[in-house]
């Protein structure tokens, strides 16, 4: 059996597909963010990853670490809201773990994602349950660390989706939504939804065979 992993082409496909899915989900993410934030999460993410994809094509980096850094810098320069430094940190930490690698195996990828998660915690100072993207990253990473064989990876997509949907009932503790207090309950956290989509597209690029779900009808 060929081990599950990721090479440069798969990484480029991941960024390409994520940019496209974000563009398609842009209005939904904006609508969620309108209810509890400042209404621009979809626009910011779609613009950021569109820029990242273009930069990746223009610079054609030679290893995964360099590719992650191109994406990180593109996001830092083009996203604008809190997602800029947060998703920028994810790709910087991932890039550090995948430095000089043309291809990464599953252990290296998970190590990189763990570093990314630690980076998000340091940057945003959030805890699990605060109704932030960490509410998706924490359980998804915990799952893939314990279940990293090929078949089980598909299940990680479900873990990420459920985690994103579970933010609906929580009260926000961070960001603009926190000003709303209990009124922030009842709406899914837009950053958790974009993170749920992140894992769906990432795992699809790793091993294929991931069915997409109609996020727009589930989260609204």
């Amino acid at each position: 059996m060929i081990g599950v992993g990721m090479n440069l082409e798969q990484f480029a496909n991941f960024i390409h597909d994520y940019a496209q899915r974000l563009e398609a989900l842009k209005d939904t993410l904006n609508e969620l963010d309108n209810r509890i934030g400042d209404g621009d999460h979809g626009t910011n993410m779609a613009r950021g990853f569109h820029t990242a994809q273009q930069q990746l094509q223009a610079k054609s980096p030679e290893d995964l670490g360099a590719a992650c850094n191109v994406v990180a810098m593109a996001l830092l320069g083009s996203v604008g809201g809190a997602s800029g430094p947060l998703y920028g940190t994810i790709f910087m930490k991932l890039g550090g773990a995948l430095k000089n690698l043309a291809q990464a195996d599953i252990e290296q990828l998970i190590e990189g994602l763990q570093a990314a998660k630690t980076g998000i915690i340091e940057r945003g100072k959030a805890q699990f349950g605060d109704k932030t993207m960490l509410d998706v990253w924490e359980p998804t990473l915990e799952y893939v660390t314990a279940h990293s064989c090929d078949e089980e990876l598909l299940q990680a997509v479900m873990v990420a989706r459920i985690a994103a949907l579970e933010t609906r009932d929580r009260v926000a503790k961070k960001g603009r939504a926190a000003y709303l207090g209990p009124r922030s309950a009842g709406t899914c956290d837009p950053g958790s939804v974009s993170s749920g989509l992140f894992f769906e597209v990432l795992i699809s690029a790793w091993r294929g065979g991931v069915e997409t779900i109609p996020w727009e009808t589930l989260v609204l």
Binding site: L76, G80, P85, R123
Partner: protein, 133 residues
Amino acid sequence: MGNASFVIVSHSKKLADGLIQLASQMAGPSVHMVPAAGLGDELGTSATDIVSAMETCPEDGAILLFFDLGSAYMNCQMALELSPPAIRDRSWIVDSPLVEGVIASSVVASMGLSQEEVIAAAEEAYHIRKVAE
């Protein structure tokens, strides 16, 4: 060390430009103040824009980053991490009300005081009442 420089990190370009106009009037021309504000024509902040603004500051003085709210702080932190040590080691993120802090500390900076005193002036701005009780 020369006078401290000020980088005004705001989601709004107009807010940063207006604040610099106002503070420059109070502090005079000896204090370098530069905006890192807005994202193109839209509201937002960017770590890479902050790095570029820091690079315009004189090499012999401290660099103080003032920010408006929320994610601007995260982008200030990222900008410090992205900067070379020669810049990072003389840069500080200041926790103060944006308008009052920048005005108070730019006046102190114009007098050539140390960056500790300049930062203290900004932080004290949290406690200065504008209307007598």
